[in-house]
Amino acid sequence: MKITQREVGSAAILDLNGKLTGGPDADAFRDVFKSLLEQNKKHIIVNLEKVSWINSTGLGILIHNYNTVRGAGGDMVVMHASERIESILYVTKLNLLFKSFNSEDEAVRSFTAAR
């Protein structure tokens, strides 16, 4: 899986490309989040538009980093999840944990709206 980083307003957006399945992905993801928090960037959007699928280990990676960001006083949301991924979030009830957006603008605004 490839991770590309960009910024919009106060938010750091991570564009993921590939399959989120664990293994080396977990370390790469954790390193990116650690680096962002070290730079005091605590509003993180995970863009799932180009993630073809995710398994339970991939969900664990998302939860781990969500917990890390929340523990640091920040927040993490997801955007552009496919129907397939949305249905996985639904059956695992993670749709109740992760805010999910279909628009980048809405995802970026969610951090200021939550204040």
Binding site: G23, S56, V91, K93
Partner: protein
């Protein structure tokens, strides 16, 4: 392949997550061939990829000398897959009883939840060869994944 015939394909893959894409492509193509709906195709591939992920990670622990054998069988339009690893298995009876799933903040424990939600029947069998997961998706079935 005819819709009413029993058709079977066996994939024998290394214990490496990079082969999940090949399994996903195979089941998507076959399910399409057997006129499964797009939603049903997503269901069976999601459940199968999850089963294979677990076999590679938790069954074989990524061991290079261990394989995962995936059997894809279409029978009268219904789909049955088995995924066999070379691991020692786990207390699947206990796991199957836990319908609520893990704590929302827990990083683990959602594999069975996913496999069960996207199939119509889920079975486990453990013997001296390893653990076998059997996933069944009925052509007219829905699983529990509908929103």
């Amino acid at each position: 392949m005819g819709k009413n015939n029993v058709e079977q394909m066996i994939l024998n893959i290394p214990s490496d997550l990079k082969y999940l894409g090949a399994v996903d492509a195979a089941i998507q193509d076959l399910a399409r061939e057997f006129s499964f709906s797009p939603d049903a195709i997503n269901d069976v591939s999601t459940a199968l990829v999850e089963a294979c992920s677990n076999a590679i990670e938790h069954g074989n622990h990524f061991a290079k000398d261990k394989r995962v054998v995936v059997t894809l069988r279409f029978n009268g339009g219904d789909f049955v897959a088995t995924v066999q690893d070379e691991g020692r298995g786990f207390d699947f009876a206990k796991a199957l009883r836990d319908e609520a799933g893990p704590d929302p903040m827990s990083e683990r424990g959602r594999g069975i939840l996913i496999m069960r939600a996207f199939t119509d029947d889920l079975k486990f069998k453990c013997d001296d060869k390893g653990l076998t997961v059997e996933l069944t998706k009925l052509r007219g079935g829905g699983g529990d994944a509908g929103q």
